[in-house]
Symmetry: C2
Subunit: 306 residues, 2 copies
């Protein structure tokens, strides 16, 4: 063990996004699940990125990761184009239409864990092919707390591998539509129960602006969203929620329901900051003081005993 | 003043519903906003119904109101047919298609307040023509705490009268789609701000299974929904939420943010019971012990300090 060992690593996409919202259009926004999750986690812990970028990836973006203190030993740079996504949000700032998905080097991504990541006690398996999630799980040492995300694509085309991943992780974190697709069930309490049957001890179902629920076999927790009056770009909200949650948790290093609730509320607060600007812009201005301030505000909004 | 004076009266529809859900179809279900709101309020306070039924209204239904202790001095029975509604819920148990709306005697409803209602300190103006809401407000004595509901129809066709009602009441309680229609704005924080500009001190925006928000000029409260795994019939959830809230509040008789939050959480608990069976069936089996039990459960689900 040496000082370079990280506490949390995140695997997923790194992309350059063209994003149109009802308010504004922006090109070449640094995005992807790894970007948002690592940036959010970086406030709390030593986090490493596992991802791939192409030879066209601007060095300025590497510097932005570095300024946030994100470890890049797990970042591969390969000949070819960086993953590019382009989409348009509808007037509700929730529904979106994908205009373009160009996988580039992400299409042949074969993630490997650097030695300094292998014993990390916290892992976020972001949305990639579940066979690659398995490939990475095979490289971990010890018994980390592992959270897995996925998406409709893998639920539809890679179900056996996804089921194996779900059976091996501690927590599954999905949005409501993914939970419904995975279980072919509408009611979220019942979705959670069916996912818990697949193996994980914890299920988090995200509902965007409506908050999230944490389910275990014998408890339900309601996690409020922080109300945001001025949304600029919802892209990455779910990833920054997950990243901040795990970053915060890895700093406490105690896992029980009260700590998980506090970590998820912290995730809700950081996600609320994320959507107030494009890409990483808001997180790059964020401070622990601002996080703590909104966290206390969020608590005061749900405090029934006050 | 005498013993017959009531603490809360509710005006709105009384109907006989034919309801189809993905699980079951039921005919001749006693429904309407007055029915659900008064039944929910009846656990907490002396509540009176202001509504109209036709000559076909079964005496058995009158007896059901009476068994719940609902005062019926404000109930008119007129020659003709009772209001009938028929609808089909989609697989999500939220979206619904109306098959039939037959106003009957409700189409000519001219509500009047019995003397024993005029000094009631709490009033729920359920969804009826805002001119009739105004007509009733003109009959009240003293300075009651008045909550007004409405619906898309009146927002679209009776805007001047609706604006006058909103400017005169203490609280507007709407669901999210109605708040958006009323303000032509999507973000609920901004909707609330625009409605507060219209006059009321409090705005509650209901989000069904996602809970509700209470807004004032300088505070936001997040009211969680009680998670229900087995929904039978969502009809009347919003009305029982409002009725239980105001019934509970009228019993405390203190109006501040903490009390409003507790009352709204009580509303959420009673609404969750309502949707577990058709019409009034669940509320007719309900006890204060069951309400208190779920209230404590709901609090424990959002308790971040535990």
């Amino acid at each position: 063990m040496n000082n370079d060992n990280i506490n949390l690593w995140v695997v997923g996409s790194i992309g350059i996004d063209d994003i149109t919202t009802p308010k504004e259009a922006r090109c070449n926004v640094l995005g992807g699940s790894v970007t948002h999750a690592c940036a959010a986690a970086s406030f709390f812990t030593k986090v490493g990125a596992v991802g791939v970028v192409g030879s066209d990836f601007p060095h300025e973006y590497i510097e932005r990761y570095q300024r946030l203190g994100i470890d890049l030993s797990g970042l591969q740079q390969q000949e070819g184009a960086t993953f590019r996504w382009s989409g348009v949000y509808e007037s509700d700032f929730i529904n979106r239409r994908t205009l373009k998905t160009e996988l580039g080097v992400f299409g042949d991504f074969k993630p490997e864990l650097p030695p300094s990541y292998r014993a990390a006690p916290y892992v976020l398996l972001g949305n990639i092919n579940p066979e690659l999630q398995e490939h990475l799980l095979a490289q971990v040492e010890g018994d980390p707390f592992v959270v897995a995300d996925t998406m409709d694509l893998w639920i539809n085309i890679a179900r056996p591998a996804l089921n194996r991943v779900i059976s091996r992780v501690d927590m599954v974190m999905l949005n409501d539509s993914e939970a419904r697709l995975l279980t072919r069930c509408h009611n979220l309490c019942n979705c959670a129960s069916l996912i818990l049957d697949m193996g994980p001890k914890y299920v988090v179902i995200k509902k965007g602006e409506h908050g999230a629920h944490l389910f275990t076999r014998d408890s339900t927790s309601i996690i409020p969203a922080f109300p945001v009056a001025d949304v600029s770009d919802p892209t990455g909200a779910g990833d920054s929620f997950a990243g901040a949650f795990l970053g915060w948790l890895s700093r406490q290093n105690t896992i029980d329901i009260p700590q998980l609730r506090r970590g998820l509320c912290t995730g809700a607060v950081v996600a609320a900051y994320t959507v107030e600007a494009f890409g990483l812009e808001s997180l790059e201005q964020l401070t622990m003081g601002k996080i703590e301030n909104r966290y206390q505000q969020l608590l005061s909004m749900i405090d029934i005993r006050a």
